[in-house]
Symmetry: C2
Amino acid sequence: MTLRVAIVGLGKIARDQHVPSIAAVDGVELTAVASRNASLPGVACFATLDEMLERADLFDAVALCTPPQVRHGQALAALSAGKHVLLEKPPGATVSEVAPLVALARRNGVVLFATWHSRFAPAVEPARTFLASTTVRSVRIEWKEDVRKWHPGQEWIWEPGGLGVFDPGINALSIMTAILPRPVFLTQSDLFFPANRAAPIAASLAFADGHGVPVAAEFDWRETSGEIWNIVVETDAGTLTVADGGKRMRVDGALRVDEPDREYAAIYRRFAGLAADGAVDVDLSPLQHVADAFLLGRRRVVDEFVES
Amino acid sequence: MTLRVAIVGLGKIARDQHVPSIAAVDGVELTAVASRNASLPGVACFATLDEMLERADLFDAVALCTPPQVRHGQALAALSAGKHVLLEKPPGATVSEVAPLVALARRNGVVLFATWHSRFAPAVEPARTFLASTTVRSVRIEWKEDVRKWHPGQEWIWEPGGLGVFDPGINALSIMTAILPRPVFLTQSDLFFPANRAAPIAASLAFADGHGVPVAAEFDWRETSGEIWNIVVETDAGTLTVADGGKRMRVDGALRVDEPDREYAAIYRRFAGLAADGAVDVDLSPLQHVADAFLLGRRRVVDEFVES
């Protein structure tokens, strides 16, 4: 049976990823869109989720591609209407707001799927398998990109709850928490705030695992020489590198995985599978680490950020 | 059987509360202390927890009264040595670090007790019972005190992880999460940082419960006219006030509970009970709200804080 999906929020991530991936995956179909300013040809379009829910017969599931600050109320409305819900990452503006949504989904027998798209990158599962049978000695994460290139005009990312550089950084944390054999926790956090902004443009983090394995992460939005999205794990079986956001995996330099990005197609295949089973899939650990990074963070002030 | 307790960290909270409460409660006994700079007459004294653990025959349980930034390693060491562990609030410098401790305690069959002392105030259980059978319309929390009076010379509270005004504010949150019939989550957070400090001296928070009930909290360390530690809940059965940090309860102004503070005696009675059962008691929700408040917080700069 086809899962009929409605998208809420027709911004960059919806247009770049959700719309084409839904079209590419068998068993899912885009049948409605709610967006204040935009519409799609050939699909029922509504200005708001509330108006769309008045035509609840048109869709089975809602994909929330709106900013995290407004997503909770939308998830509540969609779950209450008996719709399956897919949450873009992060699953909430706070950690605490998600548990009541999980409880509501379970009560209503519908899916809540908190997606972490980077976990569907091709190198992630092979890296997890490799690390499960080795001893980890250290982990070094570098996640650096140019905010002007990747978030043009997205003012909300600079607001409280918009996460700043943790918007991409949480992708690294979603891979880290998926591949490391033991849980880690933050021990030090330096957050670099532009003098004129309410969210950090860079972060320097240290984690521990309670067994002396050091984990360091550097997130930076000021990288203009090209993207650096790498996780390097030193092990007793060699150096594992998850490179290019998870598209490639190397062991001691030798290429083991090299595949194109099909993360969102995998997400929608999984969403259809969850809907068939009526299962909930919510892991909050990447967002928990970000909340901890703010809780424990030392604020450093850096140059003002002006988009253009 | 008597539970033999060792205290780590002989600071203000240990001397004011833990030592006299252990002495006052049947079934618990103070047999060791680890402190860099202080000692107690009639009790085995050690400079560090590690040295104390070499005389592990002297005690069954460890009460960690050290600052949260160093408590995780100490809890790990004590649990690994097969000792029951009591954590002063907050249970960690981060939320993520506590789950591995819970798992370790369960593996070793010992107690991990994350205490929230304000939950043992005399008005808390009566307030919870009252609210369980009413409809809540709004909640207003005021938690205001003079930091110079209550935290003299405690520089660590101004460091990242020291929580600033959330050190007392988390007491209010621990009562709030104990008495309200539905979970709440943060929707707005304004944090007031002295220009020369890394932790907030005041906070203004708004929560929601997904059902339209507004919850507002004001924490302030600049209150010099006396302590204000009140939670006011408007309900369809009248106005409930949990006053004076939980020592008094009023309904529509009429005094229903008025008892002296015996929070820490109740804590040690509970610790002895948990040790008899080998149970874990860890609720992270108050700390989770604080982490969310930092995650979602908008930073406001206020006057420098100079202690004297």
